[in-house]
């Protein structure tokens, strides 16, 4: 493991550590400075990689057993008592098993609880649909007060966890299982909640992505440039809520073709959030969403599943080519209205 000392925080080599491991280490750093921070889990201390935190702060970890409703209820009560709970469990349980506690106990009361939802999407591939979660972005973004972040990789996870501490109120951070490829080279690229990162400039089409799809979108942009001479803008919209409307509408104006890619049902997730913004703007554009086509996921290695659902590099290349040929009603006066 390569450890690098940053200006404020110890940062870690995202190429050798999983997202969740980085979460655990960043949380350790944050907890050094903030005595309010406690970590909760429901028999997933190992799977959610908070072991390093447990080693360092054994008194600050609360494992409630396999009882996710109680997990989030206790977190709400702890936040009420003045603590800053980080709750980690699998996204399926955080978003579905304990949804009402997340909604009513945490979001309705607007409490300072940070949820680290691991194994998002189909990242726990061979575990099957019960341990996949392709609904959580839709669910979580419909909860008032909730901030929803889907980091692209370990570096962005580190940034998201640090930013979540500074942001009052509930935050949902969706991670994969941890074996996803890394896009960023370090954590110093100006991460800000609610601000998309332009990771590739382009003029022909914009691919908007979150989570592991960001890496694949960047790969696809390179392939399309090399093979077709197509100029693809890639936006890492890591914050699903509050979403960066400005970056989305700029992409619509500049490229007029939008493809949204995410490891989620095509209903309700990032694609729908982007569509909301575009529809409300009154601007027409060619638009497509990639993800799971409103179905339950297949079993398999995550990379095979990403390929199956066209959210890997090759899949995105094919979709971009398709969207480039779509017709739409362009309003030539657009720019006048901006």
């Amino acid at each position: 493991m390569t450890e690098v000392t940053g200006t404020t925080w110890n940062v870690y080599d995202a190429n050798t550590l999983t997202q969740a491991e980085i979460y655990g280490r960043v949380l350790c750093d944050l907890a050094e400075a903030d005595p309010r921070i406690v970590a909760l889990t429901a028999d997933l201390a190992r799977s959610t990689k908070i072991g390093v935190f447990q080693d360092k702060f054994p008194q600050r970890v609360f494992n409630v057993g396999i009882a996710e409703q109680n997990l989030f209820g206790i977190a709400a009560g702890m936040a009420k008592s003045g603590l800053l709970p980080f709750v980690s469990t699998m996204s399926a349980f955080a978003s579905m098993r304990a949804l009402e506690q997340v909604r009513t106990d945490i979001c309705y009361q607007n409490l300072d609880v940070k949820i680290i939802a691991t194994h998002g999407g189909v990242s726990f591939g061979q575990a099957g649909t019960t341990h996949h979660c392709t609904e959580d972005i839709a669910i979580q973004r419909s909860l008032a007060n909730m901030c929803v972040i889907v980091p692209a990789d370990g570096w962005e996870t580190a940034n998201a966890v640090r930013a979540a501490v500074k942001r009052p109120g509930p935050v949902y951070i969706r991670l994969g299982r941890g074996f996803e490829p890394t896009h960023y080279e370090n954590d110093d690229y100006g991460f800000e909640i609610g601000k998309a990162v332009t990771i590739n400039e382009g003029t022909d089409i914009t691919v908007i992505a979150c989570g592991v799809a960001v890496y694949h979108a960047a790969e696809a942009a390179k392939l399309l440039k090399d093979q077709d001479g197509i100029s693809v803008r890639v936006l890492d919209v890591h914050t699903i809520k509050p979403i960066d409307e400005e970056a989305i509408l700029k992409a619509v104006t500049d490229t007029r073709r939008i493809l949204v890619v995410e490891e989620h049902n095509v209903i309700g997730g990032l694609g729908s959030a982007v569509a909301d913004v575009i529809a409300a703007s009154g601007k027409g554009c060619a638009f497509a969403k990639a993800g799971l086509p409103d179905c339950y996921s297949e079993v398999g290695y995550p990379e095979d599943l990403y390929s199956h659902y066209c959210i890997d590099g090759d899949g995105i290349v094919g979709l971009v080519r398709e969207v480039l040929h779509r017709e739409f009603e362009a309003d030539e006066d657009w720019e006048d209205e901006f």
Binding site: N70, A76, K80, E100
Partner: protein, 292 residues
């Protein structure tokens, strides 16, 4: 120190007044959860007028004792107590249930001063109260946490998740009450979903269990003091109560889980409360400590 005879007399008078307030608010609201508010009135009176260390003028005082109304539909009863304690003007309760009122049937802690947790959906209060108790201990603070559950609420699995964890974490500053009024919306608890032996269940989950007459202020006081002295385990006080307690035409009648009354019926209800004779109408009702 046990409640004196004078304390008990004062608390009994206060409980009567609060029950009358609940009747008034039910009229203003156009309908309210009157039955379950009346059944828990004596426990609330003992807590808020003798045992809870709170400051109505400083509702967010960090060192206050916490109270979580897990049976959130008792919001009628709690709001009457909070108004009477001076958390807010009683006149505000004239808006109860009205458009954009801070007071709905289930109280919102971000809108109503003195409400330590927003509740309503059953099975949520005990986990939150446990989190508060754990938070207090973690921060080495001495305040205690009290949580009032409905008996029908004990059907919820999350209650038992929290019960198991409270024992595991030795949350001895947490005290739960079960308002055992033997009724839920669809009928008697033992007909809809049997709870008994309820005390044995809590015991099996590792709690100190006290079973009392939930309308006997001396017993309530003694049980709370026992809970405060208990070390190493949380305490549950199962309060045998009567739904609609104090109002002759409401007692032990499931239809008063939620009901509307006009001013004429309210006058009759208040007369019944003040006369203190309603219990006589309960022939055949369960005796204190027993199961129905």
């Amino acid at each position: 120190m046990p409640l004196s005879a004078g304390d008990i007399k004062t608390l009994e008078a206060k409980a009567k007044q609060l029950r009358c307030d609940m009747v008034d608010v039910t009229v203003w609201a156009g309908g309210a959860h009157i039955g379950g508010s009346l059944s828990m009135a004596d426990v609330l009176t003992a807590l808020y007028y003798h045992y809870l260390d709170v400051r109505p003028e400083e509702p967010d005082w960090p060192d206050r004792d916490r109270f979580v109304l897990s049976k959130g539909h008792g919001g009628l009863g709690l709001s009457c107590v909070l108004a009477d304690k001076g958390y807010f003007d009683k006149e505000l309760l004239k808006e109860f249930n009205h458009f954009k009122s801070p007071f709905g049937m289930h109280l919102d802690g971000n809108k109503v001063r003195g409400v330590d947790a927003s509740t309503g959906s059953l099975g949520h209060g005990l986990p939150m109260a446990l989190g508060m108790a754990m938070g207090a201990r973690f921060q080495k603070q001495a305040w205690r946490t009290y949580c009032l559950l409905g008996d029908g609420e004990c059907d919820e699995g999350s209650v038992w998740e929290a019960a198991m964890a409270a024992h595991h974490f030795k949350a001895d500053t947490l005290t739960a009450f079960v308002d055992r009024n033997h009724m839920m919306i669809d009928g008697r608890t033992e007909d809809v979903m049997s709870l008994e032996p309820l005390g044995e269940k809590w015991k099996a989950f590792g709690w100190e269990v006290r079973e009392i007459d939930g309308h006997d202020l001396a017993q309530i006081g003694e049980a709370i003091e026992g809970a405060q002295a208990a070390k190493g385990a949380p305490t549950v006080i199962i309060c045998d109560t009567v739904k609609g307690k104090g109002v002759d035409f409401m007692e032990d009648d499931v239809k008063w889980h939620y009901g509307s009354i006009d001013s004429e019926l309210a006058a009759r209800a208040k007369a019944s409360i003040m006369s203190g004779t309603a219990g006589a109408a309960r022939a055949g009702a369960p005796a204190a400590g027993g199961a129905s």
